[in-house]
């Protein structure tokens, strides 16, 4: 059963079309991942689904409600965790949660009990009285997620929930997302951590330049990715020179520079390493490392978007700063 249905959704800002007629469904109880490079239209889509942006055209249905006309009804059953922690700096963690609950009409006794429960669940019970501005980044993120689920939403929208926080907090947040989903909450997740998407999501939609160019379940995506054999060589030579050298000697093989000194060779057929070693040796290129890459969702992402993950991470971190 679909809990979110999106049909021909378009969002234009003047002449610029940020979202170009996308179609997708999210099934009740699943974790749906929305992946794409910066500026692909992920946040604009989330904003349209949650009521922060008005679509130019198209249809949104959420839990049976018209998501455009009856957005206030939709907002009762959805929780939103934006890409930045946006609670009130001068209020304590506890007061922030209680305030957020009151926006949904939850009565005093219940909202205070729920706030205490969530603080405990998110290991913030000792910091409940501290002001939000005194929290670490990881703690802020956790409290923002707690605020997003204070009213027990049916659907939770998470925009980059683990970006810019420490490893341990990120791990805890992933566990919380998993627990929430196990308890029946539908999750709509955007992330640029492919591994996170691979671990958490049931299905993934890839969006590039405002269009969904691939939508499939993670299992099928991985099977597709694993039909390719990949070998990576790290050498003392320039990556683009290596690329030219390999292409000229092994026509029909796919070669791509990964870093300044390494290239990735991929093929649907089995790759013999020795001919490449010989080629490099004959050209005086020293090989530091040769490794077989087990294709993951990352390869699918690179193939679809044409964007290197490292570059994507750097872009995201830069944007956060």
């Amino acid at each position: 059963m679909n809990i979110i249905e999106v049909k021909n959704l378009v969002k234009s800002f003047g002449e610029f079309k940020a979202v170009k007629g996308i179609n997708f469904n999210v099934k009740k109880g699943e974790v749906f991942g929305f992946l794409g490079p910066n500026g692909a239209g992920k946040t604009t889509t989330i904003n349209m689904l949650t009521g922060l942006a008005a679509p130019t055209s198209g249809e949104i249905t959420i839990a049976g409600y018209d998501g455009i006309k009856h957005i206030k009804k939709v907002q009762r059953i959805i929780g939103i965790v934006p890409d930045e922690s946006n609670l009130y700096d001068d209020m304590s963690g506890f007061d922030n949660l209680v305030f957020c609950a009151s926006l949904y009409g939850i009565k005093k006794g219940i909202r205070e009990k729920r706030a205490k429960e969530l603080l405990k669940q998110f290991s913030l019970d000792n910091a409940g009285k501290r002001t939000f501005k005194a929290y670490s980044k990881g703690m802020k993120r956790k409290l923002t997620i707690a605020a997003g689920i204070i009213h027990n939403p049916e659907i939770l929208f998470l925009d980059e929930p683990t970006t810019g926080i420490d490893v341990e907090s990120a791990r805890q947040i992933r566990k919380m997302i998993k627990n929430l989903n196990d308890n029946g909450t539908t999750i709509f997740l955007t992330t640029h951590y492919i591994e996170e998407a691979e671990r958490l999501c049931h299905r993934i939609g890839f969006i590039v330049e405002g269009k969904i160019i691939k939508l499939s379940n993670v299992h099928d995506l991985l099977i597709e990715a694993r039909q390719e054999n990949i070998v990576e060589f790290d050498t003392d030579s320039n990556g683009s020179n290596l690329e030219k050298l390999v292409i000229s000697n092994f026509p029909g093989i796919t070669v791509k520079s990964v870093t300044d000194h390494s290239i990735r060779i991929s093929s649907r057929n089995r790759i013999e390493i020795m001919p490449f070693m010989k080629l490099f040796d004959n050209n005086g290129i020293k090989i530091n490392e040769a490794k077989v890459i087990r294709p993951s969702l990352e390869e699918v992402f690179i193939k679809i978007t044409g964007i290197e993950i490292d570059k994507l991470h750097k872009e995201k971190e830069g944007k956060k700063k």
Partner: protein, 244 residues
């Protein structure tokens, strides 16, 4: 019930987080005292406290309310906590009423601080308190909605401050508080009658000294019209600019 709870929570949060902070409380006291002192110095120690009260009250409301609301909303927009309110299941009108009510209440309190001080120095007989209260409430509502209008137009806190002054200072000098409107050049007078503070100050002049020149009913209608117009324009601008 749910809506009332959300309204009350937003109002209580704003009062606690912004309006009842020591700088705002001290501003509410210092501002009218400074104005009174200014009139005192100007009039060579013979100040007509009752005569200046309508002006001091009107300016206390205008200055307190407009900038406070403009700054708090712009600040919340910058920190993105305002998004949280926009995403709450309450209507935009109710949300903006909740946001402005705090400023209105503080504006009303600010207006009566000079009255409190004055009552310690002079007797205040023969004042139409109902009309005074109506005038103060209408000035506070109009000023708060003007602050809202400014907040929607500004994207930075300093912009909101500058923009507030752009409206406040002309109003201060052209509303008839310092210079009677009849004494202003003929070509400026229409501008005076276009300013909401002119009508609020006139209502207060009526209630304190029976010296107003516009019918209180007309002032009431004009200020109500201004309030509705400013609120409607602001909420439409929010829909257009913030729910983009």
């Amino acid at each position: 019930m749910n809506k009332i709870l959300a309204f009350w929570s937003i109002l209580a949060k704003d009062m606690k987080n912004y309006y009842l902070k020591p700088p705002n409380i001290s501003w509410g006291i210092i501002f009218p005292v400074s104005w009174t002192l200014m009139f005192f110095i100007r009039s060579n120690s013979d100040v007509d406290i009752r005569g200046i009260l309508p002006g001091v009250m009107a300016l206390s409301v205008l200055f307190g309310t407009t900038s406070m609301l403009a700054v708090t909303i712009t600040f919340e927009r910058r920190s993105r906590s305002f998004e949280r309110l926009l995403l709450a299941p309450i209507s935009l009108n109710l949300l903006m009423l909740a946001k402005t009510t705090g400023a209105i209440i503080i504006g009303i309190i600010n207006a009566f601080i000079p009255v409190l001080f004055a009552s310690l120095i002079i007797d205040l007989p023969g004042i139409n308190w109902l009309l005074t209260f109506a005038g103060v409430v209408l000035i506070a509502v109009t000023s708060a909605f003007l602050g809202l209008f400014i907040a929607v137009s500004a994207s930075e806190v300093f912009e909101a401050q500058t923009f507030s002054n752009f409206f406040r200072f002309p109003m201060m000098f052209l509303c008839g508080l310092f210079i009677p409107i009849e004494s202003l050049p003929v070509f400026i007078r229409p501008l005076s009658y276009a300013l909401p503070l002119t009508y609020g100050a006139d209502m207060l002049k009526h209630s304190f000294n029976a010296s107003g020149s516009i019918s209180p009913l007309v002032s009431l209608l004009v200020l109500t019209g201004y309030s509705i117009a400013l609120f409607t324009i602001s909420t439409n601008n929010i829909k257009r600019k913030w729910i983009y």
